[in-house]
């Protein structure tokens, strides 16, 4: 028997799910997630472009995490040209990534995920009468957007982040940015209440997900450089530099989708994103965020995807407090290294809101792009998502109560959709690409 869920709502982009069960409904044979969008050929658009245009064009790959693409592209170009940016620029980019993550996480955890917890009919922005805590979080999202807008020009696509630094910063908006950061801190308590509700839900889902083991991958970072710098850690066991990424993470194209898949060492699925980051960097969260983690009693490390929205809320908490601290550390003064175009090959990895983002660029002597290779978080997560859905359906089928059997197809559909959504896939990111490989 086959179950087909067409175009899953409340995710970024268009994804369909095909689930194959055996005739007796005792076993799930396969789960395949298919991206159902047309490819957008960004690599072709980016090839032959000047090095300074790349961050601003690649931003258009994604409407949610444009900032992550801009910053990662800028870093890859800088790596290719051996350019070091100032500490102030690094902090400002970290600030941008934090604000982008606050926006992205609230969109996912609140607008996309909450209806799963409150039942289908519940939709956040349909009703102005939503609970205080939700309203406060949406307000927090809007403030994060405002800070991005005053410092970097726009809340969706940055305008002034370029290879070598950040330009056109305006110190006269500093006071405004600081007030807004302060305003965010005031609204933080909303997170506690929502986290508490989420943790109740996770207790209910233990039935579906007793233990799901997977690999987790994220940058090993530091307290203030949580998204921007670091080596790539695998299971917190060992770490590799971004340059070595393709040795460990092997790409395979799949016949049924416009998105590619990446497997660890070519055979194991793995998870990237908020939960992986917390697994690896729990000690770099601020004290308050760690306390929150203790209060909700979730065990770290974990690869239970139902915990991802909670990990995101913890990260929002951490990010808001650190945005407040970072604003004190940065100067809004343009800093830019003059660049003399040159050739080179560069690699960069940063943490986008949804997880590890990898860029590889080759520049020629004029400083134009000869080759660009982009691996997005969703491309990495998709195989793990399929495996997890298969695992939980099999668990469900082996333990289902007789009374539920009548309704089993709907239960499987709900369960699978919720797992897909938990991973926070971004299909626009995943299908941006046709990779132009130099197969040498």
């Amino acid at each position: 028997m086959n179950i087909h869920i067409h175009n899953i709502p409340r995710i970024e982009g268009h994804l369909s799910l095909y689930i194959e069960l055996d005739e007796q409904l005792r076993k799930c044979n396969s789960v395949t997630a298919k991206a159902v969008e047309g490819p957008r050929f960004f690599e072709i658009l980016l090839c032959h472009r000047k090095y300074y245009e790349v961050p601003l064009i690649s931003s258009r790959i994604c409407g949610v995490c444009g900032y992550a693409h801009t910053i990662c592209a800028a870093k890859a170009v800088e790596n290719a040209m051996d350019i070091e940016v100032s500490e102030n620029t690094t902090y400002l980019r970290e600030l941008a990534l934090k604000l982008n993550t606050i926006e992205s996480h609230i969109l996912h955890a609140i607008v996309f995920m909450l209806p799963d917890y409150y039942g289908e009919k519940y939709s956040i922005i349909k009703s102005i009468k939503f609970e205080h805590s939700i309203r406060d979080l949406l307000y927090l999202k809007s403030i994060a957007g405002k800070i991005l807008k005053v410092i970097f020009g726009d809340r969706v696509h940055a305008r002034n982040i370029i290879p070598g630094g950040i330009v056109h910063l305006d110190n006269s908006v500093y006071g405004q940015a600081k007030d807004l950061a302060n305003e965010m801190v005031k609204n933080l308590s909303a997170i506690n209440e929502i986290l508490y509700n989420f943790s109740k839900l996770v207790n209910n889902t233990k039935y579906y997900m007793p233990s799901y083991d997977s690999n987790f991958v994220a940058l090993k970072n530091s307290y203030y450089k949580y998204f921007i710098n670091g080596d790539i850690s695998i299971n917190n066991a060992f770490a590799i530099s971004p340059r070595e990424y393709k040795k460990y993470f092997i790409e395979s194209s799949v016949s049924y989708s416009t998105s590619k898949k990446i497997l660890l060492l070519g055979n194991e699925t793995f998870m990237v994103g908020a939960l992986s980051r917390i697994n690896i960097n729990i000690n770099n969260l601020c004290k308050e965020a760690r306390e929150l983690l203790t209060q909700i009693e979730i065990e770290i490390p974990s690869t239970n995807p139902f915990l991802i929205p909670m990990a995101q809320l913890i990260e929002i908490y951490d990010s808001v407090l650190k945005v407040y601290e970072l604003i004190d550390k940065v100067k809004l003064v343009s800093e830019y290294n003059r660049i003399k175009p040159r050739d080179g090959e560069g690699y960069a990895a940063i943490e986008a809101p949804r997880g590890l983002l990898y860029y590889h660029v080759k520049l020629n002597r004029e400083g134009t792009i000869d080759l660009i290779d982009i691996v997005t978080p969703t491309t990495q997560n998709i195989a793990d998502m399929e495996r997890c859905i298969k695992y939980s359906i099999n668990h469900l089928l082996s333990s289902v109560r007789k009374t539920e059997m009548k309704n089993i197809v709907n239960i499987i559909k709900d369960l699978s959709e919720t797992i897909v959504r938990s991973y926070d896939p971004c299909i626009s990111c995943a299908v941006h690409i046709v990779l132009l490989k130099n197969n040498g």
Binding site: P9, R10, E37, G38, P39, I44, I57, G63, R159
Partner: protein
Amino acid sequence: MKKIRVCIYSLTGCEGCSLKLINTLMEYSELANIIDIHGHLIDSDDVIECDIAFIDGAIATEHDLSLVREIREKSRIVVALGSCANFLGVIAIANHVSIEKSVYSVYGRPLYIKLENIYMPVDRVIRVDYYIPGCPPIEEEIYTFITSIIIGKSFSLPDSPVCHECKALGLPCMLKKGKPCLGFITRSGCNALCIRYGMSCWGCRGVVDEHSIEKTITTFKEHGISLKDLRDLIEIYLLNTPLGKTLARKEVQNHEHTHT
């Protein structure tokens, strides 16, 4: 007062425009009381009867094509939101590469989804009532549009170029600095956002009607900027406009040649 039903539909694109629209509705909370909103990012993908349908992204797949037709049938007003829906924007590049060849060289096999032969902006297939361009669109413009519809006022886009906004703001001219900039042919309404932040204008809001291709070329020449620079710039957003079709096609085909 009966609530106005607004639907947000996304075709092939980045959904940044949908998010801008949602942000706008959250920002201007007075709208939330009179608007009932549906769509992929909010509840479901079903096409339902509505007053205003916003469409972002371009028509790339067979599914996109049947979706826009259904949307037109069920919506009182159809709005093309963002550069891709308006004139293909950054997706236009797809029409200048051999899709099958590229896909095959990359995926090693044909795609399972059926792609249209060419990618199309929304108004190539259905009648569009209003256009809100931009990559992404400006929140204030979305707000003005929605309130205009609600109170029954007419809505139109500004028909002056970004240049005028630059002058009003006293910003230094990029062309005069020798930097390729399309502000003199691009529709205003963004308050010269990119120029304010140190970029030049790439034309994401589309070309204002009255400017001819010759004038564009002459202006670049007068400022000592090469035709190649002009072509490169037009390739980002304006490939699918008359200007882009005249100027940039050859260039892009060359790209394809070296890279597939």
